[in-house]
């Protein structure tokens, strides 16, 4: 069994990523005059500027066979993620939130319905879809820079190019100076930032986040929420995040997708039309959070 990517594929990925590099430089030049906060923009604008990285789930269902019994995990999930949009999936444990991400990234297969990225059915796992897991999953034997560089192995870029991209992303997640550190020398929050950098360095169209802040203490969690928002606004990439924390979802996302448990179905989609930075004490913020919470506990 070989995991190598067909040549045509690699070519496609690198064509996309070079397009992205050009796009990025143009944008950072444009944004350089304004403050970083002002760079956070509504998703509709991103759609206009970018028009790719659109993810569609059409009537996606997934069932597992356990001891000869069929177990419906997901049933008829319909979801459209706009390019550059931040979506949070919330739901009780066991409602198949993570399964949705695993299906999108290609780690789980054999589903019904269609999953399309830029109107094309998704293939086996590839670098156009990045994922950050709840556990950082860094290789303990690789330094920070090598862990991040692992993401560029399959792109066939030159060593210099890889080094530049890796350094850029280490700086992006605020870990400058930790290039040669091993994972055991990092705190949980730092390790998770490395994982985020690893997810981003290959410049995917969409970044999937499977409860990435779930295992962190609450203070680190708040910090990383801010940073994630900063990264999202700078990278202008679509993000789909699974979380248990409704407040986190309200703070981060453009839309909150509330899932019902067993089998997982989309119960309601709540639009969070508040500008960033969001104030957790704002009555509108609280109202949205409450709406999502009551939907969850219904």
């Amino acid at each position: 069994m070989s995991l190598s990517v067909p040549a045509a594929w690699t070519a496609r990925v690198s064509a996309y990523s070079s397009a992205l590099v050009g796009w990025r430089t143009a944008n950072s030049a444009a944004a350089s005059g304004s403050s970083p906060r002002a760079a956070v923009r509504p998703p509709s604008e991103a759609t206009a500027t970018r028009g790719r990285g659109a993810l569609q789930l059409r009537r996606v269902s997934k069932r597992y066979e356990v001891d000869g019994k069929t177990l419906d995990v997901l049933q008829g999930i319909d979801l459209v993620v706009e390019p550059g949009e931040f979506i949070c999936l919330v739901g009780a444990s066991g409602c198949g939130k993570s399964t949705i991400l695993r299906l999108i990234v290609g780690l789980d297969t054999d589903h019904d319905g269609d999953i399309l990225l830029d109107d094309r059915p998704i293939g086996p796992p590839g670098l156009e879809r990045g994922i950050v897991f709840q556990e950082h999953r860094l290789m303990p034997w690789l330094t920070v820079e090598r862990n991040i560089g692992l993401s560029l192995e399959a792109t066939g870029r030159s060593a210099a190019e890889c080094a530049r991209l890796v350094q850029e992303h280490i700086d992006l997640v605020g870990l400058t100076g930790f290039e040669r550190a091993f994972p055991r020398q990092l705190s949980g929050g730092m390790a998770q930032r490395v994982a985020i950098a690893r997810g981003l360095v290959s410049q995917p169209k969409i970044l999937l986040l499977d409860e990435p802040l779930g295992a962190l203490d609450s203070l680190t969690r708040l910090h990383l929420q801010q940073e994630l928002l900063g990264i999202w606004s700078r990278e202008r990439i679509a993000m789909v995040m699974v979380t248990h924390d409704v407040e986190e979802a309200t703070f981060l996302s453009d839309r909150i997708v509330v899932l019902s448990p067993r089998p997982g179905r989309v119960r309601r989609i709540i639009t969070v039309d508040l500008p960033h930075p969001r104030d957790r004490g704002d009555p509108r913020f609280i109202a949205i959070r409450q709406a999502a919470l009551s939907e969850l506990s219904r």
Binding site: R137, P140, E153, G177
Partner: protein, 280 residues
Amino acid sequence: MSISIPSTAQVASRTGKAPGTGIRFGRRIWGFSQPLMFPVVTVLIWSAASAYGWVSPQILPSPAIIAGTFRDMLVGGDISANLGISLIRVAKGFVLGGSLGLALGVAMGFSRTVEIWIGPLFRTVSQIPSLVWIPVLMQLFGIDEMLKLVIMVKACLIPIAITSSEGIRNIPRHYLEVAQVLALSRRSRIVKIILPGALPSIFSGLRQGLSHLWVSLVIVEMLVSAEGLGYLMSWGRLIFQLDVVIVCMILVGVIGFALDFGLQRLEARCLRWRGTGVSG
């Protein structure tokens, strides 16, 4: 805000930094002397036992006699000649057995078929002590170097193959999923994920293999050999010179310890990412 993680070298120099040179030196001495406490006390009791005649010197020669015998054997060249022969045998056996064991372990680790075909056989054979093989193998290979080589290879190959194959197969699925998501080629997956992940198991297999090899070599030399440390020991027993036997016993222990210590240092160097100590 600038935080920096100290490099390994910095950490090493920091832990070595004590308030004064005198205290540092004292700590070093204490560090070295702790493991020697029990042996020293044992020798003292042993000396007392001989001096006060608690045990007859024919049964247990005094430490002074042992030391004298050791000096004579060292000066006379008995030790260097026989030890040299034993160590050359160890080197040959470990190079051959180690590389065969690793090759088999890798094959068993990566291929389900190879594991199914020979895994259970290996696990069964590993339960049979090397000593038991000697009579059969003597019929096949005679009593020369070939016999020793075969026994040593058998002694170290099996633990090495079994532990390294288990190390390869037990790479956490989490890591393999990362390899899949990052679209790593088969080669990168093996070189960057599987082999480094299996390295701790491979090292524990190598250490276990080397110590099995050493023990079985000494036994083979005691039973069928005209030279080597084991032979020296059985010769001492034959002429009822227990001092010679005890000198050889101590040497067997010390050499075995040194061999393992060497591998342990190599392991620590190759697995720097684990930090100091297994628990990191």
